[in-house]
């Protein structure tokens, strides 16, 4: 039971979501489904990032207005790691950008061939 803490659990969830995402990316023929799989993959990674910053029993990295906390360096001992949180913010936005772009592609590809089957778009090969 040593590993049954929040960090490990969410890390495992993250990895499993990533695997499901990969599975979806590699097996689904429908482009929209592939994009869905990608968002799941992305969510998995984000969970991964956050859980790596998690420390059991610590609070969010926001300093109380109380000055003593500042003075006594208690902050160090009372908050979770803020860095992964900062990173994951960026990652989420990037993921959104990529998803939006993929969806734009999906729409245009559908317009071009009236299908969403990814293996129909193999004009370029070999």
């Amino acid at each position: 039971m040593e590993q049954l803490d929040l960090g490990h659990i969410s890390l495992a969830i993250g990895f499993l979501l990533i695997l499901i995402g990969f599975w979806g990316l590699l097996t689904q023929k429908n482009i929209i489904k592939i994009i869905v799989a990608f968002t799941i993959l992305d969510t998995g990674i984000n969970i991964l990032i956050v859980s790596l910053g998690y420390i059991v029993g610590k609070t969010a990295p926001i300093v109380d207005n109380s000055v003593e906390q500042l003075e006594n360096h208690n902050v160090v001992n009372s908050i979770v790691d803020p860095v992964p949180q900062a990173l994951v913010l960026t990652a989420i936005v990037i993921g959104f950008g990529v998803t939006a772009l993929m969806l734009a592609y999906a729409m245009k590809l559908f317009n071009a061939k009236k299908t969403l089957e990814i293996n129909k778009f193999n004009d370029l090969k070999w």
Binding site: D5, V56, P61, I62, V75, L89
Partner: protein
């Protein structure tokens, strides 16, 4: 089916690899490395109560600039990718009118949502949330507007102006950092102010506001483009 078996095998090996990665994880009990430094000094140096914000806007402000750029890029690409021909825009198909309720609700809600969004990014250095969250909230408001009335013509100019000016301002504030403080995107171009108040943490509220506006505008722009593409045949 053979192919799926193969893929299952691949995923299994991938899982094995990730398992090895997973095994490097050990439960953390304390902060280390740069996090420790941030926890100790961020509040003092940057003056923001929300350490995440101080990292996002100042310490790793350059990343944030990149992030804004990504949204900007996506919006730009989508806008030339999904571009409608001029004539289409004029004789676009009318969507059916959505229910009265939604329209009324949106009329009430949208200003509140906008205000909330602005609140979120202005207080980014104090409370959870900030430019991105605020921007996203504003965009949600825009989305609601569009949903309520699909025929609404979001004024492109406004979006573009907001987007451009906030973006340029972001860069310029960043450049001020070089001149007035320690480097590009340094927030200490003005006094840090009193810790924990709205007007504190140097330029963070300003920068985060610009970020919020820009993100809001960019996402709205993306949504708008998608919305317009609905009219396309």
């Amino acid at each position: 089916m053979l192919k799926n078996t193969l893929i299952a095998l691949v995923i299994a090996v991938l899982a094995y690899m990730f398992y090895n990665v997973y095994n490097t994880y050990e439960t953390r009990t304390s902060l280390s490395g740069v996090a420790e430094y941030y926890a100790t000094n961020a509040a003092k140096e940057v003056g923001a109560a929300n350490i995440v914000t101080s990292i996002v806007v100042t310490y790793r402000g350059f990343d944030t600039l990149g992030e804004v750029t990504i949204l900007f890029l996506t919006a730009s690409i989508i806008s030339f990718f999904l571009k409608l021909k001029e004539e289409d825009e004029n004789k676009s198909i009318k969507h059916g009118i959505t229910s009265e309720l939604l329209i009324t609700a949106s009329q009430v809600l949208v200003p509140i949502i906008f205000l909330f969004g602005i609140y979120v990014f202005i207080n980014g250095h104090l409370t959870p949330g900030g430019g991105f969250q605020g921007g996203a909230i504003i965009a949600t408001g825009v989305a609601l507007m569009i949903m309520a009335n699909p025929n609404i013509r979001i004024n492109n100019h406004v979006i573009h102006w907001v987007e451009s000016i906030s973006g340029v301002a972001f860069v310029i504030v960043g450049l001020f950092g070089i001149v007035l403080a320690g480097g590009f995107l340094d927030n200490r171009i003005s006094g840090l102010g009193e810790f924990g108040t709205l007007f504190s943490a140097g330029a963070i509220p300003i920068i985060y506001s610009f970020i919020g506006l820009k993100v809001g505008a960019e996402i709205s722009n993306i949504l708008n483009k998608y919305q317009k593409s609905q009219k396309e045949l």
